[in-house]
């Protein structure tokens, strides 16, 4: 039981992710999280403003149920499977983060400077969270997939489109991490 409570190594997580992907296809569906964003927009009546969203969201109910599973999985993990909140990141990462104003890196899963309620309630903090979400939602639908659809399924299918998209993920991520984050906090 103890090994479940420890942080899981990459060679445990990677294969389980592949199994999850396999299972979704085995059940006759797809493996991709970001298309749910469109399903929820459609469900919420976005079709009144943009024709694209006039599709019948009910046909994607299976994927919404999958996402509910993600929420439940996050809850179970947090409640019963994660005795320590510490994330053992590289000490160099910790000192790099201290230099850009993010202290106690790795003491918890998330930095307080971005995710605490206090940060969320400031204009700047709220905008950081909102813009991060808008970029992810906009970019993933523009590219037609996120880390699951392009990153896992696409790369596994050796799809050229997904290699380009994942290359883009890294270009964007490197620009944000190296050239923008240092000036935000």
């Amino acid at each position: 039981m103890d090994f479940i409570l420890q942080p899981w190594a990459w060679y445990v997580a990677g294969p389980i992710i592949a199994i999850c992907m396999f299972l979704m296809f085995f059940f006759g569906k797809k493996f991709g999280v970001s298309s749910n964003l469109e399903t929820v927009c459609s469900m919420g009546g976005a079709g009144k403003f943009v024709d694209f969203f006039k599709f019948d969201w009910r046909k994607n109910k299976w994927n919404l149920v999958f996402v509910v599973g993600l929420i439940v999985g996050g809850f179970i993990s947090d409640q019963w499977l994660t005795p320590s909140e510490a994330v053992a990141i590289n000490p160099n990462t910790v000192s790099d983060l201290a230099e850009i104003g993010i202290h106690n890196a790795g003491a918890t899963y998330l930095p307080d400077q971005i995710f605490s309620i206090e940060a969320m309630l400031t204009v700047k903090g709220f905008l950081i969270l909102l813009i991060a979400g808008v970029l992810v939602g906009f970019g993933s639908r523009y590219a037609g997939g996120c880390t699951s659809g392009h990153g896992i399924v696409g790369l596994s299918s050796l799809s050229l489109e997904s290699f380009i998209a994942v290359g883009g993920f890294f270009i964007g991520g490197l620009i944000m991490t190296w050239f923008i984050l240092p000036y935000i906090f």
């Binding site: 694209f52 909102l130 979400g133 992810v136 906009f138």
Partner: protein, 137 residues
């Protein structure tokens, strides 16, 4: 009841990304600083096994629950859509430290502020479809 299997896969996926700390902002930052193998190992080993799984789908060794061949829909072609969309996604991934899966998982973890990110993600998806006719694909 036929939906419960999707719920269970979601739970497994959610627990796995939580326990492997893929939902940690710090792990994403560390990945983009190229200071740890962890995230590359997670994605790389998933893809390595995924390549075998896809091969077995293609030669029909593996079929669906109902015995039908598994066809993986190809992604839409176009350098602009994949590259520009990818870059925009990457900027957000590194800023918020979470891609769509982890956003939902963090809701389950009880992180209130992730709801702002999740709202933003829906807004972003909406905006894309509202202006996509003006964008290069």
């Amino acid at each position: 009841m036929k939906y419960i299997k999707y719920l269970l896969v979601g739970i497994l996926f959610g627990i796995t990304l939580s326990k492997a700390e893929v939902i940690s902002w710090f792990r994403i930052y560390e990945m983009f600083k190229l200071q740890s193998f962890h995230m590359y190992g997670v994605i790389g080993s998933a893809v390595a096994i995924g390549i075998v799984v896809m091969y077995l789908f293609k030669n029909e060794t593996l079929k669906t629950l109902h015995g039908e061949p598994i066809i993986v829909e190809p992604k839409k072609k176009g350098v602009s859509r994949n590259l520009i969309g990818g870059i925009i996604f990457g900027l957000g991934w590194a800023l918020g430290g979470s891609c769509p899966g982890p956003m939902y998982i963090l809701v389950g973890k009880g992180v209130v502020s992730i709801l702002v990110v999740l709202f933003g993600a829906h807004l972003g998806a909406f905006l894309y479809h509202a202006i996509k006719h003006k964008l290069p694909h």
